[in-house]
Amino acid sequence: MDDRPTLARKLGMTEHLSPLLYKASRLGLGPLELQILAVQRGCVHYSNGSEPTQPLANEEDLSNEELAIALLSPCLPYDPLSIRCGAAMLSAPGNKVPSLGRLTVMERCEIPVRYIAECGHRFEPENPFWNELLKIVPSFPTPSGVLPHPTRFVAMTGFTRRGRELLVEWQRPLSAVPAAS
């Protein structure tokens, strides 16, 4: 039994019986396994080097959209790494905004998804994916200090071969930018 407070509690919400987390559980995926699966699907930034190579679940059984929302579920124990993995998976190539929006509402993930979309829009203002997501995910009051600082969703470099410059890259699996739907 995990006695850590849930993200919901940290956000001042209650938990529900999450059908998505039950589905994940049926596939043998608890909170830690969801993070491992995110790494296996390309979130190598969050690898600790010990993840098994055999995928814990395939995309037919749990899509990238479902994995993103599961990692951001308010019913999970509060873990900033889970939120960071969820942020990366949210913008996985191929994710469809309408599906993400529906899952977000169904799983009561509006607060973290909206927050991440706002952060994504801030770092990638030209990426229509974030704008579309922001249009369909409602805004709720969000307590400060619970969700990771926006800079925790990106990789920053202050010095390159060209000298001193700031490069900021949103963390997502693989390297492509998701297409807006």
Binding site: T14, H16, L17, S18, P19, M106, R108
Partner: protein, 100 residues
Amino acid sequence: MTNAERILLVLDSHLDHEIQLILYGRAAIVLGFTDPPAEAARTLDVDAIIPISQVSAFQSDERFWKAQEATNSELKKYGLYITHLFEADQIFLRRDWENT
């Protein structure tokens, strides 16, 4: 037919055994009262309360969760769903709500 009716009929069609759901929120208003406000009929989901005494049985009812998943999949094209299932201690209720 209201959205709430449609959701529950689809859920029922996917179930192969009896379950008990205690509805609340707009779906309960539209289904439980005559002349409900129009706003209630527009709800896109059905919220339900699971009594604490039944939570464990509910959690282990694989056939329910599969039916629930199939329901949401079938209703995706209409934007309807049933996912907001709460244990009774996660919402405001009267102390003796189960006996009244």
